[in-house]
Amino acid sequence: MSDKVFMKGCEAIAEAAVRAGCRFYAGYPITPQNEIPEYMSRRLPQVGGVFVQGESEIASVNMVYGAGAGGTRSMTSSSSVGISLKSEGISYCAGAMVPMVYANMQRGGPGVGTIQASQQDYFQATKASGNGGFKMIVLAPATVQEAVDMTYQAFDLAERDRNPVLILGDGVIGTIMEPVVLPPMKSDEEVAALKQANRKWAIVGHSRDEKRGFLSPGYWSTVMQEEHCIQLDKMYHGWEENDVQVEELYLDNAELVFVAYGTTARIAKSALELLRAEGHKVGMIRPKTVSPFPVKSFDKINYDVCKCVLDIEMSIPAQMLYDVKLAVKERGAVDTCLRSGGNLIERGDIVRKAQEILSGGVK
């Protein structure tokens, strides 16, 4: 209890990043994630790190590209419409194999949308975060504690794979305050050692006896480009085996299975508890990584008794639905329960939909 602190989601993410050894952050104001750059502007100088307010999201992500290219654990963040602007730089990081972590505290869309929480960027986050068909590990926290733990882990994953890692939050995760236990602060020596380990590829200057640091987001040779894509693809497949994170609840003999991530998942879970208290056999799959998607969890559903797999999202049109359908493989019915526009999904919305399905209203 004593090491518990009460923190706002955005600030907790920023602090977790600093503790993970992040020493460079560049960002640009956009609601609802302003507390990340604000916190970083105070915190990073205290630990010898650098904060830069970029002149745009585009500049900010490219500053992170440069800092990451120098081997420093680096981060940026934004929300939805600002993330679109960052997509160029994120694709470059993926192409040139520059590790970086970024957070998207999703708001309503398309366009400027609303400033309230939504999950309208699922496709962008999991399918096409920039040009070129690259993939990323995308972590979707449902609580502030999870946001902290995932951010801390994200830097290790980014560095392991030399690839961007996305923290996919939303306006709720970013603005709520919850008790959190913060991970240990990496010492200056640990941070320096992490950076030193990156020196072999970082573009910090090498003597002529060493291999030069050369980060190329593209190749003049089509053969080399294809080989690069094949190597990346192998890495992506490796994630499916080793890096899926998921919470599974009551899948045995569930008559109804909820699928939800992030803020929606915590609300869905409260609906599940209410329904189970009434005796309904409701289970749940909560992807903690929406990429790689927990496909194998869907094999644990008993489709002989499951009436429906219910995709619950704060997005209209439904987006995660297509991953759910691919995982269900036409073994059972799939339906949706959706909100959009920055309106929070309500427990009542989910309970009503569930009761409708369980009473046999859905084919």
Partner: protein, 182 residues
């Protein structure tokens, strides 16, 4: 303890701080899961403000429940807008200096506390939220009042004059809350 509270009022009435102080106190002194959600809009100034505090020994579901157990309204607009968001059997604490509308339902308990007037008696409108926080604790006995007061003193103004003022405001509210409970 289960808590499911909404606080609403004008921007500038310290609405967010009521929720923040209460949830901070719960975080500091209990093992409950607690979530504070400052509902936000685009305006930097003016307009209405509201926030939610949900605390539970289970995981907190929605940080912004559609139906709450308790509602604190600091102005009349919020009373009219949110009085039907309270569950049957719930409570509405009103700043009766400004809230003239009634609950217009008889399945909730209304606790009127004239916090604007009480704050003016103390010489500063700024502390009306602390008066309300005191009244809420005094009435509900949600938790040890000293734990909440500790938070008030720790998070708010460090100057001696503010510390004294906040102490007085909290005590005045506490007393009014206890009296209202009877």
């Amino acid at each position: 303890m289960e808590l499911n509270l909404m606080v609403a009022g004008f921007g500038g009435q310290g609405v967010m701080m009521i929720g923040k102080l209460l949830s901070q106190a719960i975080c500091d002194s209990t093992d409950y899961n607690v979530t504070f959600f400052p509902s936000y809009g685009a305006q930097q100034r003016g307009g209405t403000a509201n926030c939610f505090v949900v605390a539970s020994d289970r995981e907190v579901g929605s940080p912004k429940p559609a139906v709450v157990d308790e509602l604190i309204v600091m102005n009349d607009v919020s009373m009219v807008k949110y009085r039907n968001n309270v569950r049957s059997g719930g409570m509405i604490f009103t700043n009766s200096s400004l809230v003239k509308s009634g609950a217009e339902r008889d399945d909730v308990t209304v606790v009127p506390i004239p916090v604007t007037e009480m704050a003016m008696e103390l010489g500063s409108l700024k502390v009306l939220n602390i008066v309300m926080l005191g009244a809420y604790i005094g009435y509900t006995q949600l938790m040890d009042e000293n734990l909440v007061l500790d938070c008030v003193l720790r998070l708010l103004g460090k100057k001696q004059e503010f510390i004294e003022l906040n102490k007085k405001a909290f005590a005045k509210g506490l007393e009014a809350g206890r009296k209202a409970k009877g």
